[in-house]
Symmetry: C2
Subunit: 397 residues, 2 copies
């Protein structure tokens, strides 16, 4: 059993704040600063260039990839860290399209995070010649999977509503019609149990600064199924994905297995911060995390619906149908979220009208949920959000 009092004690949570935004940027593991300082001072400072060997920087991306693999049901040696999620989306899509050369359509849905759609759009424009991105409403995805598709690109958990797609069923349907299944785990990794191997997924990508608490700008990851690992061709063919990077050959030869999905120099400092978080994640079982997440989110829905009738639930009511967040709609959502932040409950706002609250069992417990619900009830009951200062929009919200 995961000891959540122990994991909670390993995070720094500022006084006077209930942090329900770990689905946007996870909080700082207490060990992160010392871990990064060690990398800077004892490794970079003292080892200089020799740190690539001596400190193991070159192996960080696959070592950490293996620790994340356990959380997403991936086989050892199938996950590697690097770049940003947008880049990894492009990389996975490009490889998947090349594996299915007689077809030219990518299917996604309008609930997907826009950057995935933008990257797909950039890729199909670069490919030209009939390649296209087709988007349907989330509830129409299953029906839209047909033999015209080269690739399905689906984000498992909707960033606004938390609605969760059925990875196993959609992947099976994609395969039945001869399409390749690419999954985005941005709101899944560390949020819900994922079983990439069991679902027979082809490619998956995700980020680490949300539930995996790697800090602002932490690196992304990519998964390639073992059956594709030696054949998938990386379109972003960088030197660290080469079979022998330090041979400095003029011709590209893809590296062994998942190594070929590396591109450039790994972000060693960001990876060190992620390691501090993975030390905590290593103490957790996803089944325990999921059970506590459903209990916390069910409780939150019940408390808010009882006290705040003007907030409309935007997330699935059934815990099995959602990720680890709860969203409510309100036309004044932006101002309400600003007021909540001013009163010590941090969630976030997603245009046009979504108030989003993330529940992260490693450091959020029942007491936090009850305290947050009481503050939300007060802000809503007294209309404390109805002040001009809460309505001025900042660039990043």
């Amino acid at each position: 059993m995961t000891d959540f009092s122990k994991t909670k004690a390993m995070f720094h949570l500022p006084e006077g704040v209930i942090y329900l935004d770990g689905n946007s940027l996870g909080p700082m593991p207490k060990a992160a600063s010392a871990r990064v300082a060690r990398t800077i001072e004892a490794e970079w400072g003292e080892m200089l260039i020799t740190g690539w060997n001596k400190a193991g920087w070159m192996e960080q991306p696959t070592k950490i990839g293996n620790r994340i693999a356990r959380l997403i049901g991936a086989e050892p040696g199938t996950v590697v860290m690097g770049d940003t999620l947008s880049i990894k989306v492009y990389q996975a899509l490009a490889s998947a399209l090349e594996m299915n050369p007689t077809r030219r359509v990518i299917l996604s849905d309008t609930g997907n995070f826009p950057s995935d759609l933008y990257m797909a759009d950039g890729l199909v424009r670069t490919l030209g010649h009939g390649y296209s991105l087709k988007t349907v409403a989330p509830e129409e995805v299953e029906a839209a999977i047909d033999e015209t598709l080269a690739v399905t690109m689906i984000t498992e958990v909707d960033y606004r509503t938390g609605r969760k797609h059925d990875m196993k069923a959609l992947t099976a349907k994609a395969h039945a019609v001869g399409a390749i299944a690419v999954w985005d785990l941005a709101h899944s990794a560390g949020a819900v149990p994922v079983d990439l191997a069991g679902c027979n997924v082809d490619f998956a990508v995700g980020c680490t600064y949300k539930y995996l608490n790697s800090g602002p700008g932490g690196p992304a990851f990519i998964y390639v199924a073992p059956r594709h690992a030696e054949t998938a061709r990386p379109a972003l063919s960088g030197w660290l994905g080469h079979e022998a990077p330090f041979a400095f050959d003029l011709a590209y030869r893809p590296g062994r297995g998942i190594e070929r999905m590396r591109v450039g120099t790994p972000p060693v400092l960001q990876l060190a911060a992620l390691e501090a978080s993975m030390d905590i994640w290593d103490m957790a079982e996803m089944a325990d995390v999921r059970a506590k997440s459903i209990a916390l989110t069910d409780l939150f829905i019940a408390l808010i619906e009882r006290s705040c009738p003007s907030l409309t639930l935007a997330s699935p009511r059934d815990g099995n149908g959602r990720g680890s967040q709860i969203s409510f709609r309100h036309a004044e959502g932006y101002a309400i979220m600003q007021a909540l932040i001013a009163h010590g409950v941090i969630g976030d706002f997603r245009a046009p009208d979504i108030l989003r609250f993330g529940f992260t069992p490693l450091y959020i417990d029942e007491g936090d949920v009850r305290a947050a619900a009481a503050i939300i009830a007060e802000v809503m009951g007294k209309a404390l959000w109805d002040r001009p200062e809460y309505k001025v929009r900042a660039r990043v919200t």
Copy 2:
């Protein structure tokens, strides 16, 4: 005048080491660790998600871009940080090719860093339909620039020999034949004065972990000439390059100017480390750096050629024709470099036979050069490299 004793004092240089490898990984600015710790503890730890606004994380990539712009002769607002150099090469090439749609050939040379060639290869494969990468010997580049070319992709300073291309002449020739000029400044930024605006360059890219001392895995940068800034289409169209990232539109619209070349979430911790280095760079003038660099490299050549006849100069003898490194050839280069490192002179080895030494005026002075040359003379004179332990190759060299 740049006060180099002051800049040298701002770097941590380990005892007993003469570091002639700042062209591979720059050393740690003394302020880097505290700067990153502040970002982790006071910003990430205390501000959590609000750090994107409050701590200015979202503006870091353009703010730092402007500080680098001064060092490379770029106009304000034309440089932005992010990703790795390989990704930025792909991004610049893809935009450049799209601007020249009737032509399909990229020209580069065999002295280019292999990752640039690999990325170009991946891009032309993705584009298909007649796109190709043509590589010629470095000395044949000028003659090979003709009206068949869409884009020239040239690295100004050769990573092995230090040979420096004539940016102004080659860019002018590219333009004269109707090609777009993309330059890689990996061994130029912070090494030699670059005048992107004066040379009329179209796109440039570079990295920061070499002469710009951002630490292992520090982010890359990209430059787009002002005349292209509102028309260049980013193939890697990520959400932070969108005109309004937080509107979460389903359709991509490129952001204003250089902002469109952003892709995903910026690496905030790596950027903080880079800021510590830029505080030192802000005290330096590139003309002073260049004058000292030529003096140090001329001295090094003279000392080594006098004492080590078995080492053959691989760099241009004329200071104006090279970057800020000196390379020598020797069939036993690998073992020699291992022996030098064991004796306190860190340079690096580049296959098949190059011993490479970087000269970085911010923290290397005449005393260091004389001391290093004396150690090299001893290692060569007594054949101290001829031991089995120096011949075992590590993965990263």
